[in-house]
């Protein structure tokens, strides 16, 4: 059985494949958004929390960065039912991906917050901002500039990491390719198409990321003439 172009092109727009693409997209986005919320929470707990909160955040980060995502997914979907805790496939995927992502993002967000000049905290206190206002109006918006590039990388990774969900039978792009490959045993064609779709998704994200980065860089742009002073 040699390479077949007709199968290749047929798989490209195969309904099953397209459905997988769609699932991969929304699964990535939902997991990323929840992961981002978890990451911000964990970062703030670790940096500003008192004793217990900080330990919880540190434990969470340590646990999820220290174990393979594949094991996390399998434990959540196949292991936890043993304790009577049951999640659907979709819930398990989102939970696993988001928890894992949050642990990585927490460290990225923490580094971003630490990159903000100490004078910004003074300045925002001095105009009368409380902790929440300082965070949301001054510190986090500035940290975002540092956070966006690694965050973009994480999302790039997320698009591909979702393929691991095929192991717990989530019907995303990878699983679609598996299923298609099993119909006519056109394994190479099916997986090449899946690979191409991942490439396409990641490339589109690359373009979007560049725009987001440019947006956050704008206030710091060096193009405009700046009058220099002593530091």
């Amino acid at each position: 059985m040699s390479w077949s172009w007709p199968y290749f092109f047929d798989y490209m727009t195969n309904g099953l494949m397209l459905k997988g693409v769609w699932v991969t997209i929304w699964l990535s986005i939902i997991s990323m958004v929840i992961g981002l919320a978890l990451g911000i929470l964990a970062a703030l707990m670790k940096m500003y929390g008192n004793g217990l909160l900080r330990y919880i955040a540190e434990f969470y980060i340590w646990l999820f960065r220290g174990t393979p995502i594949l094991i996390q997914l399998v434990i959540i979907y196949t292991g936890l039912p043993q304790l009577g805790i049951r999640f659907t496939v979709i819930e398990s995927c989102i939970l696993g991906l988001a928890l894992n992502e949050g642990a990585y993002l927490a460290e990225i967000i923490r580094a971003g917050i630490m990159s903000v000049d100490k004078g910004q905290e003074d300045a925002s206190r001095a105009v009368g901002m409380n902790w929440r206002e300082r965070m949301w109006l001054v510190i986090l918006p500035q940290a975002t500039r540092t956070i966006i590039p690694p965050l973009g990388n994480q999302f790039n990774g997320m698009l591909k990491t979702t393929s691991l969900c095929s192991v717990i039978s989530m019907q995303e792009l990878m699983r679609s390719a598996q299923m298609i490959a099993q119909i006519q045993f056109r394994v190479l064609e099916a997986y090449c198409i899946a690979a191409l779709w991942y490439l396409l998704l990641v490339s589109i994200w690359g373009l979007i990321q560049a725009r987001i980065e440019a947006y956050y860089e704008k206030p710091f742009g060096s193009e405009e003439a700046t009058v220099s002073d002593k530091p």
């Binding site: 001095a126 009368g128 206002e133 109006l137 710091f220 700046t226 009058v227 220099s228 002073d229």
Partner: protein, 258 residues
């Protein structure tokens, strides 16, 4: 001199960083509309004094009243209880502070720098605040910079925006920590001019600076700090021509050399 007319009143304020005593029992009163210049050599505690008044640092003991607040505490049946972060923030709204490094918010425009606190914290209407912000820009001589980002401004311009940002909260007291020390010489006067105008308009001000021209022109009193204490507190003429402390004489001789 009653307590009522004092905008600032410090009683035996002490502050140490570890073993390093930075404020060693400071007493200081500043009346409404008064301009007090503080000078002293590096490390004498000038910045720390201002930062304690504005609660950017917590004091170890003593008492600070400023802009009508007992800073950092409230009195409950004769006892002092530390305030929460949010309650301290409410006190800080009545005190404006200007920093050596400007510390403008770099991620938003000039106009937004000025409007951020009044709109987001006091929740005042945008249009009303914008009118005031534009008037402030006029006042500091930068009406055409509303849409610029801080990065695009010179140091002198940034510092004037920082003053406008502080004034937007309508503070009862303004603190300046070496506002011109980071500026190129040709930009110093544009900032000092704004401060002189402000003092003429009756603002109560404490200014840490080594600009003796400003002290002569605008100060009601000049204070010298030395080793965590106030060693001289006099009207400008006395301070410059007839200082009592040896430290002041030494300080003046060094300042006047260059």
């Amino acid at each position: 001199m009653s307590d009522i007319e004092n905008v600032v009143s410090l009683k035996n304020v002490k502050k140490a960083f570890g073993k390093n005593v930075v404020l060693d029992g400071i007493d200081l009163n500043v009346r409404k509309g008064e301009v007090v210049v503080i000078c002293g050599r590096s490390g004498s505690g000038k910045s720390t004094l201002l930062r304690c008044i504005d609660q950017l640092e917590k004091i170890d003991s003593g008492e600070i009243r400023a802009a009508g607040h007992l800073m950092g505490f409230r009195e409950v049946r004769g006892k002092l209880v530390s305030l929460s972060d949010a309650a301290v923030a409410r006190q800080q709204r009545d005190i404006g502070m200007v920093f050596q490094n400007f510390n403008l918010f770099p991620h938003v425009s000039v106009l937004e720098n000025i409007m951020l606190a009044p709109t987001k914290i006091l929740k005042r209407s945008r249009s009303e605040v914008e009118q005031e912000a534009l008037a402030l820009l006029e006042k500091v001589g930068l009406p055409d910079k509303r849409n610029a980002y801080p990065r695009q401004l010179s140091g002198g311009q940034q510092q004037r925006i920082a003053i406008a940002r502080a004034l937007a909260m309508k503070p009862k007291l303004m603190l300046f920590d070496e506002p011109t020390s980071a500026l190129d010489p040709e930009m110093i006067s544009e900032v000092l001019d704004v401060m002189v105008d402000l003092s003429k308009a009756g603002m109560t001000m404490i200014v840490v600076t080594h600009e003796m021209g400003f002290a002569r022109a605008a100060a009601d009193r000049v204070i010298l700090m030395h080793n965590a204490s106030i060693v001289e507190d006099a009207v400008p003429q006395e301070f410059f021509e007839n200082p009592k402390s040896e430290h002041t004489k030494l300080f003046l001789s060094k300042i006047l050399q260059h």
